[in-house]
Amino acid sequence: MSGFLGELLRTGGVAAAAWIAGWAASPAVCPPERAFRFERAAWSWAIGAGMLAAIVPLSFVAGMVPGWVAFGIVAAAGALAARLAPVERVPRAGTAATDAAAADRWLWPLRAAVAAGIVLYALRALTEPMWSNDYVAIWGLKGKTVHAAGGLPRRLFEDPALGFSHPEYPLGLPFLYAGISFLTGRWDDHAMALLFPIFQVATLAALYGWLRRRRVARAPAALAIAILACFEPLYSAYMTGMAEVPLSLGLLLFGAALTDALDGEPGALRRLAAASALITATKNEGLFFAAAGSALALLLGGPRRWKAALSALPTALCVQALHLAWRGRLPLRDFALASFSMARLGEALGAALRLPGPAGWGVLVLIAVLLLLGRPAAEADRMLGLCACGLAAYLTLPAFAVRGPEWLVATALPRTAAGLAPLLAAAIAARYRASPAGSAAVDPADA
C-alpha cells in the first residue's frame, strides 16, 4: 500500500494543516460558544480550504512559488485577524436540555448510518484517481496546468481550442488542487480525492451544528445528517473531483449565515460575507445564489434585512471582479439568451420530469411528505426559499442551452440539483425544531 498510502498520508497532512489554520482563524466568524463547535469545525475546513486555494494566486501576484512559506503567512494573517477582531460571545437565555430520552435510543443506529455514509463515500472517492469527465476536462485540467506551469497561463482563457475546459468558470477549485499539490510537492489526483470525504464530513458537521443551535432535538438532527450522509447522488464516485460537493458545503454555510444574519446571531454578517465569497469562487451559480440570498433577505427579512442583504453581495462581487480582472470577460459557453423560448422551457421541464425514474420519484415523494408534515418556521422558509431559487434556475437554464434543453437536463440537472441537498435537508429539519415555549426545548450547548 506504500504508493497510495504514502501519498494519502501526505495529502491528509496538508488537509490537517489547513484545518488547523482554519480553526485558528475561525474565531473571526464563529463566536467562542460550545453551541457553535460543530459549525466551527465545518468553518475551519472551509476557511482552511480557502487558504490553500488563495495561496496560489497570492503567491503568483507576489512573485513567489506557492508553498509552505506562503501558506504560513496566510495562516498567520488569518489567526491574527481572529485575535484582533473575534466575534464576541453573546449571552444566551438558558434552556433546559430536555431531549426526549425515548428518541435518544435511535441515536446509535443513526450514528451508525452516518458512519456508513461517510465510509461508503470515502471508499467510492478513493478507489481510483479522480476520473469524471468534468474533472478531467475542466477542474483537474486547470489545476494541473497551474501547478505544472507554476503560473496561470493566458491560454487557459484565450485559446479557443480549450473552450471545452470552460474558461468562464471560477478558479477556486483548480487553485485548491494546485495549492495542495504545491504543498505536497507533487500532483497526485488519487490522494487528492481525500478532499471530497472531508467536504462531506464538514457539511454534515455544519448541518448538525446549525440544526442543534436552532433547537432541533438530537434525534431529528441526527436523522437529517444520516439521510444526507447516505445521499449517493451527491456523494458518488462520479461527483468526486467536480465542484458540486464543495459548493454544497458553501451553500449550506451561506444559507445558515443568511438566516442567522436576519435573526441577529453574533458573527452572522461575517459568515455571510465569507460564505458568499466561497460559493462565488467555486461555481458560476455562486454569484447567482449570493444575489438570490440578498433578494430573499429583503423580501423575507425583518428589521435586519438591509444589513443581511448588503453583506451577502460585496464579497461575491469582489471575487467576480478579481476573476474579470485576471481573465477578462468571457461568455457562458453553453448558453445563449436568444435560444430561449417557452417551447424550449416546456421541453426542459418535460425532460426533468422524466429524469428521476420510479426509485427517484419515491425518494422525492418522501421528501415532499417530510416537508409538508413539518411546521412552518422562519429559518426553514429562508433556507427553502434559497433552495427554490436554485432549483428554479437549474430548471430554467436548459431552455438557454445551445446544445438543446434535453442535453443540459440529462448532463447537468441531476448533479447540480443534488448540490442543493444539504440546504434542503436544513430547510426540512428546521421545520421540526422544538417550540421555544414547549416542553421539548433543548440547550444548543448540549449538542
Partner: protein
C-alpha cells in the same frame, strides 16, 4: 400517531431507502481494486480505472508519450486517435501543461507530433518510438 411520529417514520423510511439503493454490489470490487492497485504507481492506478476504460491503450500511449516528451516541446499534436471528446480531454489532462490538439492540419512550430499507432504525419522525423506509438518532430 402524532405528526412528529409520522414524520419520524417517513424519515426512517427515506433513510432505509437511501441505504438500500446504495451501490452495495460495488463495495467488494472497490475493495479489491484498492488493495490491488494501491501499491502500484499513480499512472498504473489510472490505467486500471474508470477514466481510461474507453481506450486503455490510448492512456498507455499518452503516458509513454509524456515520459518521452522533450522538455522543449511547446505543444503536442496527437495523430491516429479518434476525433472524439474523451480522447481530447484525456490527452489534454495527461499532457498538461503542454497544449494539445487532435490531428491539426500542420504541426505548429516547436510542437511535437505524437502518433497513436503507426503512420507519422508527413514531413516529420521520428524522435522516439515504442510499442503503440511514436514521437516525431517537423523536419528542419
Amino acid at each position: 400517531m402524532t405528526r412528529r411520529g409520522a414524520a419520524g417514520a417517513v424519515a426512517a423510511l427515506l433513510l432505509v431507502t437511501l441505504l438500500l439503493v446504495q451501490p452495495w454490489s460495488e463495495v467488494p470490487r472497490r475493495l479489491r481494486s484498492v488493495s490491488r492497485f494501491a501499491p502500484r504507481e499513480l499512472a498504473v492506478r489510472r490505467l486500471g480505472g474508470s477514466g481510461t476504460a474507453f481506450d486503455r491503450n490510448f492512456f498507455a500511449f499518452l503516458e509513454n508519450a509524456r515520459r518521452r516528451l522533450p522538455e522543449s516541446a511547446e505543444g503536442v499534436a496527437i495523430y491516429g486517435a479518434p476525433q472524439a471528446e474523451p480522447y481530447l480531454y484525456l490527452a489534454s489532462y495527461v499532457l498538461a501543461p503542454k497544449p494539445v490538439r487532435l490531428a491539426p492540419a500542420s504541426l505548429p512550430p516547436g510542437w511535437i507530433a505524437a502518433t497513436y499507432g503507426a503512420g507519422e504525419p508527413p514531413s516529420t522525423h521520428v524522435l522516439r518510438r515504442w510499442d503503440g506509438g511514436s514521437l516525431s518532430a517537423a523536419v528542419p
